[in-house]
């Protein structure tokens, strides 16, 4: 905990211009990740988790804008960097793995050449031959059988799992300090997902890179993360070590989500689902973003008049954004 964070994001706000007005996709989000740590960013679609990743890497679409916030990484604020400075960092210090490995790979280029390109972009002294050689080593490292041979394939010949391994090979090519993986296994079958999560784990062991894992899947979070940030309506509503989050959730959204996940083990009863659906974020509520779906609110005015801050709970590093976070959630669970 005392360790200096590798990346520290403070008060991030991102808006999108849409025909109906302004979407407040991210609203004052804080997060930090330490060297070598696996941070899970978990939330439902539209909660702002992917937008956060894109904002950090300067990859927001033209309609999106970082309106507030800082992102300190190795002594520099990512939001204050020029395009060319950011280009230096992307793929070298921070790399990204996306959800769909097919659309992220060039269909007309051999896989090995694409991995080699990731190396050459950041190291002009590297010869073609050395880059190709290193690409094969990387593909081997992520578990591609007969990597030297398969490096000559075009992506369509590879299965989804193999393509995602190739993406991971590219992501680790320049030994980044941080890898951001956005739903890296969501498009994959469950047996393949297990293999990819193993590869990500092995790679981290080997390179010591930190990992931000963006996902909607609480099972994946429980399997691989050290620490978790739960995002709802563009805000961080709870953050804790993975054990505290699953063992003692303090925010009603977190506990509702946990209760809503069907499991292949344990008791069969599915608990009362959270009513309603996630907010659209066209207007920015003054109170708690979760108030209209919350069972704990029960007519309390404070929930709609005052936005709850993320504040510390008993355990170190555990914070929850609920005015009544200390109340037992037993009636829900």
């Amino acid at each position: 905990m005392g360790e200096e964070p590798l990346l520290e994001v403070r008060d991030l706000s991102v808006t999108f211009k849409v025909p109906g007005g302004t979407v407040h996709a991210v609203n004052g989000l804080d997060l930090h990740v330490s060297p070598g740590e696996v941070l899970g960013v978990v939330g439902e679609s539209g909660c702002g988790k992917s937008v956060t990743a894109l904002a950090l890497l300067g990859l927001l679409p033209p309609t999106g804008r970082v309106v507030e916030g800082t992102a300190w990484f190795k002594g520099r604020d990512l939001f204050r960097l020029s395009r060319s400075e950011l280009r230096q960092i992307r793929g070298r210090d921070i790399s990204m793995v996306f959800q769909d490995p097919l659309t992220s790979l060039h269909p007309g280029m051999r896989v090995g050449a694409q991995v080699a390109e990731a190396l050459e972009v950041h190291d002009s002294s590297l010869s073609r031959r050395a880059a190709a050689q290193r690409a094969v080593e990387l593909l081997d490292l992520v578990g591609i059988p007969d990597a030297a041979l398969r490096a000559n394939d075009h992506p369509h010949l590879w299965s989804g799992g193999m393509r995602q391994r190739a993406m991971i090979a590219m992501a680790i090519a320049n030994k980044p300090a941080l890898i951001i993986a956005d739903e890296p296994t969501t498009a994959l079958d469950v047996t393949v997902q297990a293999q990819i999560l193993d590869v990500l784990g092995d790679i981290r062991q080997e390179t010591g890179a930190a990992l931000i894992l963006i996902t909607h899947d609480l099972g994946v979070v429980a399997e691989v993360c050290d620490r978790v940030v739960v995002v709802y309506g563009g805000r961080g509503v709870e953050t804790a070590s993975v054990h505290d989050l699953f063992g003692d959730p303090r925010h009603p959204y977190t506990s509702g989500l946990l209760a809503a996940v069907p499991r292949i083990d344990g008791p069969l009863r599915l608990h009362d689902p959270i009513p309603g659906h996630p907010p659209t974020l066209l207007d920015n509520p003054t109170g708690c973003v979760f108030a209209d779906r919350c069972s704990r609110r029960a007519g309390r005015d404070r929930c709609v008049t005052e936005c709850p801050e993320l504040r510390p709970m008993d355990q170190p590093g555990h914070r929850a954004a609920c005015h009544f976070a200390e109340e037992a959630l037993s009636e829900r669970r």
């Binding site: 299965s159 999560l197 054990h243 509702g256 946990l258 809503a260 599915l270 689902p273 659906h277």
Partner: protein
Amino acid sequence: MTSDELLRVEELVKHFPAPGGPVRAVDGVSLTIRRGETLGLVGESGSGKSTLARCIVRLIEPTAGSVELDGVDLLGAHRRQLRQLRRHFQIVFQDPYASLNPRRSVGDTVAAPLHVHGLYDAEGGERRIVELFELVGLDPSQRRRFPHELSGGQRQRVGIARALALNPKLLVLDEPVSSLDVSVRAQIIVLLDRLQRELGLAYLLIAHDLAVVRQLADRVAVMYLGKLVEVADRDKLFESPAHPYTQALLSAVPIPDPEGRENRRRVLLVERAETGSSGGCRFRPRCRKATQLCEDEEPALLPLGEDQECSCHHTDMTVPEG
């Protein structure tokens, strides 16, 4: 045929023509569903589970085999007969956005099956729509809205209401919750469970998410490359899976609880071989139990004790864990 049996599928085959030989998407599948029962059908992408479902409801014409609903042959039925028979079996699709007409109010969408079957009349029809909306937990005042004005969960409720309009006996649910958010997914699971109990419906539930299947299914069939490799009672399947593929599948599902995660063991699979080798067990190239016998002879789906069938030559062999 026993009287509580609703659906009987025998040796269903669907081959798609392709350069380099037909793709055997469904390659001889037999199954039954009892009245009011849920059969879960699980398998990974490309296993043929959606093709099987579409063949059963004849959205795709099967290559061979038979499908009987309540003793009536569905595959032999002519167009007009089939349309009449469709009252008894309906399908709910994965993506409620793609499967609803964007230019039609959701009330009209739910009413459409009634019109098709000549069951919509001025006073009774409107009442039925309101009833259906209430049945699936939608506010009837929303029936003049269009799909884009509803959330994903509400759209899926519309899809379910449409499927229920004609009082079917069987609903085929093709990945009914997989495009929905976690919190909304739970609502739809609870809804499907309630509807089944209230209406006595039978479900064929197709899903890749084993945890969802466990919530709803009475029995589970596991499909691999066009064939069923295991069929068992729900608890039997989740507690003591017999086929190495089922074992691998179950052990790969992430458990949403970090306690004890260091000690979890996975049943490892061999990386899938590129070319489909002909003959023998189709799971053989990925199986860690595979022997010469598996190469020579395709295992049949055979009873294994009570309430469980499995197609593996080596159910008594222990598999190395990883």
